[in-house]
């Protein structure tokens, strides 16, 4: 009974098909972009001794994240959803990143002081 955002289901925000279409085009374009970008050597960035950032995977992941955000916000209606749904999504991403980043942090910091 709490956090209900509407009395009946007709109050759900209905996303217009044109938005869906626009998103579809964006996604397709992003797919093209990411394939195209993968054929170009974007170089790398030596942040510090022993720490190098390669741009290609970064760009590929950035595009993937953008696509994900588009899908989540529009196809999955999160943009129009109650706060709770948004919070759920965010907490999922948070824990997911926690798992990955803290595990990788262990691996990376093992070499500390060794380069």
């Amino acid at each position: 009974m709490n956090e209900h955002h509407g009395q009946n289901d007709q109050e759900h925000h209905i996303v217009s098909p044109f938005i869906y279409l626009a998103i579809l085009l964006c996604l397709l374009a992003a797919t093209g972009l990411t394939v195209w970008a993968s054929y170009i050597d974007l170089g790398e960035w030596h942040i510090a001794r022993g720490v190098t950032l390669f741009w290609n995977p970064v760009v590929a992941l950035a595009i993937a994240c953008t696509k994900m955000i588009l899908v989540v916000l529009f196809f999955m209606h999160v943009k129009y959803s109650p706060k709770l749904t948004k919070l759920t999504v965010i907490s999922g991403v948070f824990i997911f990143l926690g798992l990955i980043s803290m595990t990788l942090a262990d691996y990376m910091s093992r070499a500390w002081g060794r380069w």
């Binding site: 009974m1 709490n2 956090e3 709770l84 907490s91 999922g92 824990i95 926690g98 798992l99 803290m102 595990t103 942090a105 262990d106 691996y107 990376m108 910091s109 093992r110 500390w112």
Partner: protein, 555 residues
């Protein structure tokens, strides 16, 4: 205010078991096996986990029997390894993880939030079936020779060096994991979406809060275990090298993934128990829980921080020193909310009006033993001392203090506390108080010597040990016998009370939770009408007013 908080036990002589209740509504095996009623599913769960507890307990008995002498004379080392592995697996995945949430939580949470059922009754039933399937697989594993990986499935031992039933055990835990995911998911949805009018977050009983926190851990942690086990099984069947260093894999990756679940799992195992303690301490001291908000938020804090301390199980395993530092620090942070809770419960007693029924005795046991168990956890969380204490009996003692001294005590406390609600009958008070005392004494006898053993350096998972450790081991084994009696008693008198126990009536403890404001055993729909929550949790004055009204209307 004054009359408000006097305990006035209802006249039990006149009470009757209501004809219409969830137990009597339908009869026949099918009506149970196809039920959607959370109370019936809870009952099914209660029976099944008790079954597994006794299997696990019998295995514990074998462990202690073997450790009576330094040599491995009762059974071969191989057998011993299987025994403790099965003991750990069964106790953790088939008893402790589902213990409070799937039984008591299942039973009372919908009532506590004022709902007719959990949000997804079919999923709830599915969860039980998954549990049964998993349990069957575990029994199959045991019947066909057992598994000797330890409950931690350590790779590459489990993937390449053992020829016991690792696959079926792994899959059993996999399935059991999904059972637990569905329970947790159901609770979260229920707590968010099914609260009755007026039931705001800060009017929820603390039991609901702590189960909510535990559910978050179940939902987000368990899948990682699931995929890890899938990888272990694949590694065993098609010989892939994700975890096996000989093939380029990384055994530490397994440790990371396993503990990413299994550390939060220990909080899955304790948080619901903490919820029970909040209810019980408040009820039997007739006082609102001291610092309600602090206790509520400490549960959430444990859940959130609990996700980021997992590598404290790997301090000596060659993780980076800097990672050890961070994880150790976070471990210290996650210990604080537990301390907060203990002190808040202690202060709930202050200015109360305390009675000492069995649930309260168990709760006191919990508070003492969990303090010891938790503080020794801090010993292990500090990196420097962990080096000496890890992989010894100190750890065994630590986790039995928190799991058995903590959660099992809480579970028994809760079972006694809600027994009248569940069955409509009281358990026999005197003998159950005795049982609580026996378990407390037996427990300390069993597990306290293990701290000393661990400090002396006795490694865990040893079928044979140097003879100078024998004295303390004999102590421990003797204690386990007492403990066994302590656990056998409840099953006897609780069964007895099903038929011969006194009729309990609606609210024998004069507790404030919504579940106590309906008949015992409750209707299938819990409440004749969806209640409206118009007071804070643990509002004993409201309860007293309510009763006066009733007396007035009858009079």
């Amino acid at each position: 205010m004054s009359a408000a908080t006097i305990v006035s036990l209802p006249d039990q002589a006149t009470a009757r078991i209501p004809k219409m209740n969830f137990l009597s509504k339908e009869n026949g095996l099918l009506s149970w096996l196809l039920t959607g009623d959370h109370k019936r599913i809870a009952t099914l769960y209660l029976i099944s986990i008790t079954f597994f507890f006794f299997i696990g307990g019998a295995l514990a008995g074998l462990i202690r029997l073997e450790l009576l002498t330094p040599q491995s004379d009762l059974m071969a080392a191989d057998t011993y390894n299987k025994v403790f592995s099965m003991h750990g697996l069964i106790m953790v995945f088939f008893f402790l993880v589902p213990s409070v949430p799937a039984t008591i939580g299942n039973f009372v949470i919908p009532m506590m939030v004022g709902a007719k059922d959990l949000a997804l009754p079919k999923i709830n039933l599915l969860s039980w079936y998954l549990y049964i399937v998993a349990g069957g697989m575990m029994l199959y594993t045991m019947a066909t020779g057992g598994v000797d990986t330890g409950w931690t499935f350590t790779t590459p031992l489990s993937t390449h060096y053992l020829n016991s039933n690792v696959i079926s055990a792994g899959l059993a835990v996999f399935v059991a994991g999904f059972s637990s995911i569905f329970t947790g998911l159901n609770f979260i949805v229920t707590i968010h979406k099914m609260r009755c009018p007026g039931m705001t977050w800060f009017r929820l009983p603390l039991f609901v809060w702590s189960n909510y926190a535990a559910s978050i851990l179940m939902v987000l942690g368990t899948p990682v275990l699931a995929i890890t086990l899938v990888l272990v099984v694949l590694e065993r069947t098609v010989h892939i090298g994700v975890f096996d260093p000989a093939m380029g894999g990384d055994p530490l990756l397994f440790q990371h993934l396993f503990w990413f679940y299994s550390h939060p799992a220990v909080y899955i195992m304790i948080l619901p128990g903490m919820g029970v303690i909040s209810e019980v301490v408040s009820t039997f001291s007739r006082k609102r829980v001291f610092g309600y908000t602090a206790v509520a938020f400490s549960s959430v804090a444990i859940a959130v921080f609990g996700f980021f301390v997992w590598a404290h199980h790997m301090f000596i395993m060659g993780i980076s020193n800097y990672a050890a530092l961070v994880f150790s620090l976070l471990t210290m942070l996650v210990a604080v909310p537990s301390a907060i809770k203990i002190f808040n419960w202690a202060f709930t007693l202050y200015n109360g009006s305390i009675t000492f029924e069995t649930p309260m005795l168990y709760a006191f046991g919990f508070m003492g033993l969990f303090t010891i168990g938790g503080m020794t956890g801090v010993f292990l969380g500090a990196t420097g001392t962990d080096i000496h204490l890890t992989e010894t009996y100190f750890i065994v003692a630590h986790f039995h203090f928190v799991m058995v001294g903590g959660m099992l005590m809480a579970f028994l406390s809760g079972v006694h506390f809600w027994w009248p609600k569940w069955t409509g009958r009281m358990y026999p008070e005197k003998i159950s108080q005795l049982a609580a005392l026996i378990t407390f004494i037996g427990f300390n006898f069993t597990f306290f010597p293990q701290f000393i053993l661990g400090t002396l350096g006795m490694p865990r998972r040893y079928a044979a040990y140097p003879p100078e450790f024998q004295a303390l081991n004999v102590f421990s084994s003797a204690g386990a016998t007492i403990l066994g009696v302590g656990y056998l008693l409840p099953i006897l008198y609780l069964t007895w009370s099903l038929k011969y126990g006194e009729i309990a009536g609606e609210n024998p403890w004069q507790a404030t939770g919504l579940e106590w404001q309906t008949q015992s055993p409750p209707l299938t729909e819990n409440f004749p009408e969806i209640p409206i929550m118009d007071h804070e949790a643990y509002d004993y004055e409201w309860l007293a007013r309510q009763q006066q009204k009733e007396v007035a209307s009858v009079g």
